[in-house]
Symmetry: C2
């Protein structure tokens, strides 16, 4: 067995999402051959890659069938999260992917989805931050149980002080709720809210991150514009519930990011609060907010559908108690969020492989 | 029997909410006596007064017991909706009460509550308008089934064109969704959204109204400030769902309107989506979003509690289909909204009787 043999065999293994083989994609390194023992490392496009096991099996089989039936194959994994950062983008240089979670309609579950997406990515081994961009109704402090905690400031070295994000469940967190007293209404005109958001980008030490998830406020207003004008957003995840009033607003959000001057790719759409199942009637699904509205919208707009999240009391309870579903005890909701996140992460990798970097939007007023 | 006798008897009948008697409150007129027949008119503080029957009985009894056991008493009702408009307030001169429905948190049911409050007031005989102040996520067009309809313009006489509100189910309606193409995102900076709201006040022919209900967007931002700076808001109705993340935002909304520079009275708080009852298990209440969170908040903040609205699939369906619960077929939801609206309307009358007019806010930035 030579290194050449192994590479030739692995050139028959496809990366399932990117549609090319592992060798062409430059994903194989550290081949070590010792008699019948062979080991190599596959460099994944994301640590949270849900295709890991499949690729391990396919690679092992390729070596055994094409090179040496007796081979003992050991596949190691490492990852180098792909990015679609363009040149000359100075903000958040250490952040590989900026994922904005948007909706149009309020209360559809953006914050819940953001929190659990961040946790699912981190569970896969990625370095993850979560920025709460909802200046008027921040949810991150409650959902992560860090209400009342205050982030520390730190000298950035150049005489400038930066804010160090809080860390909880392995996620770096920032929210206006961690800076402003809980009891006061934040009654700010748009320009002040926008400037708070800019500070979350320029004055917070996010460091090296594979993914920065941004929990956006409802609507399509100032903060959305400021965000796309300040950082290159890799893509947006659209959250909707199934009813018509939510879908109408989701369409507005989709239209906003598709506008010629903005052009941020849509990673996909997730349908939240899809149905309710009482514990006493485990076979009943109550489509309280309508049936498949999100799925149908994804089809209509030809967007990747990222799955259904059912309405589960423990999801709400976890949000209120500071223990998001992904780190909670309910297997049904955990499973739903894991499946959603793994679809999202694959679509992010595909987006990075196939599309041009997002530009920072120059002007849209 | 003399007019004096009747008035003396009626001075023993209390207006239950205002805590004074009908004669002191100047609510009795048109006394006609003909032998044993006596009739008079009680001028209610609102046509939607839920205390009508009680006052009729009490007045009849007062005359019979205190004046003449043989009397045939006929009580007529009319109404002159009270107002707390101050002097020198030029905007919307024909509108007696401006009621803003707010929440803080998105998606808790502001639009649903606004629509059904407007319809309940109109069902009681009041003249009612509904202004959709949600520029980024207008719901009124869908909820009233007038999507795609366009309001007409009209020459106001002074060479200025005004917009004539649409009318549906007896309610005058205005929404950005009736003016801007449905498919386009409204991506406006705050100042443009605020100017749209000002136009909804200055350039729309609202005419004479007992109540103008304003369906506010989520949060505590530009549009809220613009609203209180442009018109004297009689009071706000706070909508919340029971969970902690919603209550936290509701507190922000309450704090905003209570601020020294703003000072708009809170009419009361309504708890929406309080519980779900599957048809198959009519005795089960699933407190999906938590139990009594809104009621407890009202107690904590010493605000009038306006009731629970359960989570009922037909409320959502009615919203999507353009037939709000109050004009739909489901008696449980209709009843819940009627009880809520009658508490709200009483509290508005009490507010008008007991508190100073709201001032237009001069400056809060
Ligand atoms: N699948 C679900 N099952 C049960 N409860 C849920 C689910 N998704 C969200 N919730 C609850 O619904 C409420 C609204 O969700 P969330 O706060 O995430 O929405 P949002 O879109 O971020 O709202 P806003 O527009 O106010 O920011 C929260 O109390 C949350 O815990
Ligand atoms: N009591 C209820 N039972 C069932 N569905 C309800 C109930 N109240 C509201 N809904 C539904 O929940 C969704 C959110 O309600 P609504 O649009 O009124 O909220 P909102 O506070 O106005 O939201 P936004 O912040 O986006 O303006 C709608 O689909 C509505 O039909
Ligand atoms: Mg949120
Ligand atoms: Mg609304």
């Amino acid at each position: 067995m030579t290194e050449q043999d192994i590479l030739k065999a692995l050139s028959n293994v496809q990366e399932p999402d990117l549609g090319k083989d592992l060798v062409t994609l430059n994903m194989v390194k550290d081949i070590v051959i010792d008699g019948n023992n062979v080991s190599f490392t596959i460099v994944l496009t994301t640590p949270a890659c849900p295709m890991k096991d499949m690729m391990a099996t396919a690679s092992t089989n390729a070596v055994k069938f094409l090179v040496n039936k007796e081979a003992n194959v050991k596949v190691n994994f490492t990852s180098n999260t792909t990015t679609a950062r363009g040149d000359g983008q100075n903000q958040l240089p250490g952040v590989k992917n900026i994922i904005a979670v948007v909706s149009g309609k309020g209360g559809v579950g953006k914050s819940t989805v953001s929190a659990n997406l961040a946790l699912a990515l981190a569970a896969g081994g990625a370095k993850v931050g979560l920025m709460d961009a909802d200046i008027y109704g921040p949810s991150v402090p409650i959902m992560f149980g860090v209400r009342g905690e205050r982030p520390l400031m730190k000298d950035a070295g150049n005489g400038k002080a930066v804010i160090v994000p809080l860390e909880k469940f392995g996620i770096k967190l920032m929210s206006i709720g961690l800076l402003v007293d809980d009891k006061n209404a934040v009654v700010w005109r748009g320009p002040m809210a926008s400037s708070a958001i800019r500070q979350f980008i320029t004055d917070v030490e996010w460091g090296e991150l594979d993914y920065l998830v941004i929990d956006m406020p409802p609507g399509t207003g100032d903060i959305h514009l400021t965000m796309v004008q300040t950082v290159p957003v890799t893509g947006v995840v659209v959250v909707t519930t199934p009813q018509a009033v939510a879908l109408a607003d989701a369409k507005k959000g989709i239209a906003m990011f598709g506008q010629a001057q903005i052009k941020v790719p849509i990673i996909g759409l997730v349908e939240n609060m899809a149905w309710f199942t009482p514990a006493e009637l485990p076979n009943n699904k109550y489509y309280l907010f309508g049936k498949e509205g999100g799925k149908n919208l994804a089809e209509e707009y030809e967007l990747p559908f990222l799955g259904h999240i059912p309405l589960v009391q423990s999801i709400r309870e976890g949000g209120d108690a500071g223990v998001p579903a992904l780190v909670g005890n309910d297997e049904i909701s955990k499973q739903a969020f894991m499946e959603f996140a793994s679809k999202a992460v694959r679509n992010i990798a595909m987006r990075n492989a196939n599309m041009a970097p997002t530009a920072v939007v120059q002007m849209v007023e």
